[in-house]
Every structure is written in C-alpha cells, then in structure tokens.
C-alpha cells in the first residue's frame, strides 16, 4: 500500500503489538489522542489502556518506568513527544538503559525502543526541532536508528522491536507526511547496523541519514545531470554504524561528503570523517567535507530555513569536493 512515514510506523506498531503481547507503549498523549502526530492512532482502541498508556507529563518518569518494565520482561516503547525534551530523561537513558546489561553481566537487559519525533523544518517552537543523535552516539551501550523513508521506517522499527538492546528510534518529523511510497502490508525487518546504498556511483560518496537523505536526493539528481556520478549511502542505523560500507565506498570514489542537520562541531560527521581518514587515507583525492547545521542554536521558525542544510548547500558541497 502507499503510505507516508506516520502511516508506516503506525502500521508497524499495530502489527508488532499483535504479534508480541509483551509490547506496551507509553507517553504523553499516546493513548486517547493517538499522539500529537497521530503516530499511535487507533492503538488505544485496539489494545486498551493496559498496553497503550497515557502517562503523567514527565520525560524522566516515562523513561525510568519504561526501563523497569523492560528489565522485567515487557518490551516498552516510550514516546518522547519532542526530542528536544529528551534531555529531561537523559540520566535515566545514560545511567541505566545503556548500562544495565553490562553492569549485571547480561542478567538484566533493557529491550526498550524509545520513539523520538525529532529534527526540524516544520516551523515548530523552540526546543521542538532538535536532532540529538550525536549526544547518544557518545554513549556506549545504546543503539541509534534513524530512518529516512516510510519503507525504512517500518522495517527498521520492526527490527528494533525484536532487538535485545535499548534502541533510540529517531523519527524525522519533516518526513512524517512529506510523501507516500509503497510500503508492504506484510511484516518485514530491515537489519540494524547495515547501511543502504541508495545509488551507486564512482566520483564521490555522499553519506546522510534521516531528513537529510531526503534533501540530498534532490541534490544528487541535480549534480548527476551535470555529469557527476554520486554514490549515495543512507546509514539507516548510526549505532552500530556500518563502517565497512562507508570505507569500501570511499576507497572506491576517493571523495566523501557527509550531510547532517545537527550542528557541525562534534556532530556525527566528525566521527565519520575521522574513520574515513583512518581507513581510506591513501585513497583520498580531496578533504572529506561536512554539510551540516551551523554551530548555533536552532533558530525560531521564522528564520529556521537558514539553519538546515538544503539542496543548494549539498550541491555546493559535492561540487567543491569533486573539483578539489
């Protein structure tokens, strides 16, 4: 069926909750209201208040309680309404969700999927447009999944809901209703930790995830018309990251451009750049280039367009790298 990202995630949650009776979802407004983005629409009626829990308004409470649930055999799926508020639960994620398996040497685990409407570009309020992947990529023990299309969103969530570890599942709000594509109604998993080569090419490797993959696709089409052959990799999972696919591609093309919407300094682009330098140094024809958000706080909606990398900036990044 044709589905946008909201519909794809919703379909996945329904199917997985039917398959696995231990899945419970909890968060602010996820029940009767179906979530402020309607991602959990219909779940309350189908599965009831025991499995679709409208919680008190507290991010730290939601995550703390969800950790206890997961450690005790439920598969909890907490939603943080906007990722910018996830800081309020940061200590629970870092001190417990990430650590419980290791500190009990495998006796207790946290098979929890934190759903995180994230990323900007929808003219939302302050604290409503963050993309905090880099913060969590610095924390050993967490998995970070960041889909860029309705098809991927369904398959990656299905796999996350069967994973043994705490997964942070990023949902770029800008893509929620951006477009529809064919999403199979039957269940399927997309393996975590494997990148997706969207398009093969020979001149330059473009690495992106989430909403920036969507933005970059347009840019890639444009430069291809100008005769530049781009290998476009969508990471799908940032932790664990598929370094093999990245280094193999860059060793072939000799050039790399990384696009992410979070601010540039200490963003995941910095780590990818380092890895490429470590593993592909002798194959490099140009410096690795990052096209990223500026090192400022995300502006209020009226001027936010200046912040996010757009088609023009991605094209510029590709061409400058190819012509270096």
């Amino acid at each position: 069926m044709k589905a946008n990202m909201v519909e794809a995630i919703n379909m996945c949650l329904k199917q997985e909750m039917e398959r696995d009776n231990s899945i419970v979802t909890l968060g602010e407004d996820v029940g009767i209201d179906g979530g402020v983005f309607r991602v959990t629409e219909g779940l309350y009626n189908e599965f009831g208040r025991e499995r679709v829990i409208d919680t008190p308004l507290s991010e730290s409470g939601i995550i703390g309680v969800a950790i206890g649930m997961a450690a005790m055999g439920l598969r909890s799926v907490p939603e943080i309404q906007f990722q910018g508020f996830e800081y309020n639960a940061f200590h629970q994620i870092v001190q417990h969700a990430a650590r419980l398996r290791n500190r009990t040497r495998g006796q207790f685990t946290v098979p929890m999927v934190i759903r995180l409407p994230c990323s900007g570009g929808i003219h939302a309020l302050e604290h409503h447009g963050e993309s905090l992947e880099a913060v969590y990529l610095h924390i050993p023990g967490l998995k970070v999944v960041y889909p860029s299309s309705p098809y991927d969103a369904k398959g990656l969530l299905a796999a996350s809901l069967k994973d043994g570890d705490a997964v942070l599942y990023f949902e770029p709000k800008r893509l929620y209703r951006a477009y529809k594509e064919e999403v199979p109604e039957e269940e399927y998993d997309i393996e975590l930790g494997k990148a997706n080569i969207l398009k093969e090419g020979k001149d330059v490797t473009l690495i992106s995830w989430g909403a920036m993959t969507f933005v970059s696709k347009d840019a890639v089409e444009e430069v291809e018309r100008q005769g530049v052959s781009v290998e476009h990799i969508d990471l799908r999972t940032l932790a664990p990251c598929d370094w093999e696919t990245i280094t193999k591609s860059v060793s072939k093309t000799g050039r790399a451009v990384i696009v992410h919407e979070a601010s540039k300094t200490m963003g995941f682009g910095a780590e990818i750049t380092t890895r490429i330098t470590e593993d592909c140094f002798l194959n490099l024809e140009a410096p690795v280039r990052r096209v990223a958000g500026w090192d400022i706080q995300i502006p209020y909606p009226k001027i936010e367009e200046y912040y996010f990398p757009d088609k023009r900036r991605v094209i510029k990044g590709i061409l400058e790298t190819v012509k270096f």
Binding site: S60, V65, M72, R103, R105, G164
Partner: protein
Amino acid sequence: MPIQRVFEGSIDNVQILDKDGNIDQKLDPKLPNDLLDRMYRHMVLAIIWDKKCIALQRTGRMYTYASLEGQEAISVGASLALDEKDWFFPTFRETIGYYIRGVPLETVNLNWMGEEDGLKLDKKTRCFPYAVPIGTQHAHAVGAAYALKFRKENAAVLVCGGDGSTSEGDFHDAMNFAGVLDVPCVFLISNNQWAISVPRKWQTKSETIAQKALAYGFKGMQIDGNDIVAVYKTVREAMENARSGKGPFLIEAITYRIGPHTTADDPKRYRNDEEVNYWKDRDPIKRLKIYMTKKGIWTERYEQEVNDWATKIVEDGVKKAEEYKPDPKDMFRYLYATMTKDMEKQMNECFEEKGGNE
C-alpha cells in the same frame, strides 16, 4: 460556602518493640520463635559482615564501602517480610537483603572489590541490581511493579531508598506514576538523618517524609526503623495490600547511620558523639536480644552459635570473592546482545597491548 476544606491528612508513627526491649501488647504480632531467630542471626551477620568489609577496605583488600551499621533492622526485617515471588529493589546499604533472598555473600563482596560480576544476580532470587545514582531505582521499581500487575502475578515490589533520595526528581516521578498507574509497589525510605553531611532537615521542609505519599494519592506511615518487629509487620502488611490490588504505600523508617557514609567519609566533620551515642542506645540488635531473653530464646550459648555461624559465612564469602578471577574481556562482551565488529576490534587491540588475558 466560600471556603471548603478539600484535603486533610495525618501520619502515624509506629513502634512495637521499644529501645529497652518491651513489646507493645496491643500491636504485638506475636512473631514465631523461628522468625525471631532468623531476624536476630541475620542482623548479627549483617554487622559482622559490615565490620569485615571496613577492615578489608582499611587493608586495601576492598574499595570504597558503604556501612550499614545502625540500619540493619530495616534491610533484614523488610527482606524477611517479602514473599518469594516479590521483587526486592535495595540500595547499596541493604545488601544483607540480597543474601537473605539467596544471593551468595561473595557475589556482593565482588562488587565492593570492584568487579561487575558482583551484580550478576540470579533472576530467580528476584533481587534487582542496586543503582548507584541516588533515587533512580524508584522509577524502575514502578515499571517493574507495572509488569507484575500486567502479567497478573501475585507479587509486589519493595523499593528502598534513603532520605536524600526523596529530594531527587526520580522519587517524585516514581511516586506520581505509582499513584496514577496504581501499581503494587511499596516504597521503603530509610531516614538515617544524614545524606553524607547534609542533615534531614535540609533535604525537605516537610515534617515527615511519609506525608509525601498523601500528595500522590496513597498512604504513608512512619515507623521506628530500629524496631525490627515494626519493620517486618509494616512491610508485610503493605506488601499484602499491594498484592491484593490496594496500590502503592510509603514507609518512612526512622533510623541512624552509626558509621560514615562510606569508608571515604569522616562524619566527625559534621556531627557530634552525643548524637551518635543517643542512637547507639537505640540499637536494633540490643532490643531484640532483650526481648528474646525474656522469651527464653536468647542465651549465651545461642549468641555463641549465631556468632560462629555468621563468622563462618562471612569468612567463606570473603575467601571465595578473593579467589574469584574475573575475565576482563567481559567489559566488551556485555555491551550489546551481540558484539559489534567495532567492539571486537577494540577488544583485541586492548588485550594485545596488555599481553593477553592473564
């Protein structure tokens, strides 16, 4: 009527066995002799173990250790009051409860000796690994209690904390969620008067910690935490109520930390001997001993037998812990369910430089 009183509440303080070993005739739960024996011997064990750990730390055989002296009635009484199916969420000062519920003593020692294997707790004991960040366990306990309720298990959760932990946001989160979700969770707060150097009165302006329960829509009670009979009876009843669907409960157990916060703390910097002596006079073991003497259960011979029994367990637990050889590679192995290629690479690099695993 322009003014209506919309809320009223009060908190009771309960003591059954007073400091001189006299039992309140009305409240006396008439505990059987074998239970009194278990209470007594495990409190003695707790103190012998405690003193041993401090000695080990002083001689470099253990890292920083948190003493429980003075508070032994709470962890012993509470863990004995639980059913086998209940879950126990202690703090690091209540690990005698782990032992009572079946965790080997050497396992707990391992943790103080600096090895993660010390929290490798067999799930069959229904003991949850204690949290080091203060108060975070309260929220986990509520989630756990939700899971028990969800599966319709005839069981409840007992979560422990200190007076300091009630200042954390996690305590508020947990109490609020517990009330709203109506889960079978009993909160047991050991109010030992001090959070390292900060006195109880600087933690909260509230007259009692127990009264905080009222704000979250359930009941609370203050008890003499050095009275093991009151601890046992109150926890037992609260857990029974929780199991039968009557929801959460808060117990504030008034006690005193006789020793330092940890072996790294010097309490002389912030409190005087007079205060410590006041509480030493309220020793939990002493009063149970007097009560058991009156009942004819405690004798010099019994004391000797209990001490020998406890010493043997402690010595055995220390020996086994000191003989234990952890596998350092475990620090990489247990990060994820399946080791990533990156982890494997780093693990190999780590042990290559150190010359292997030996």
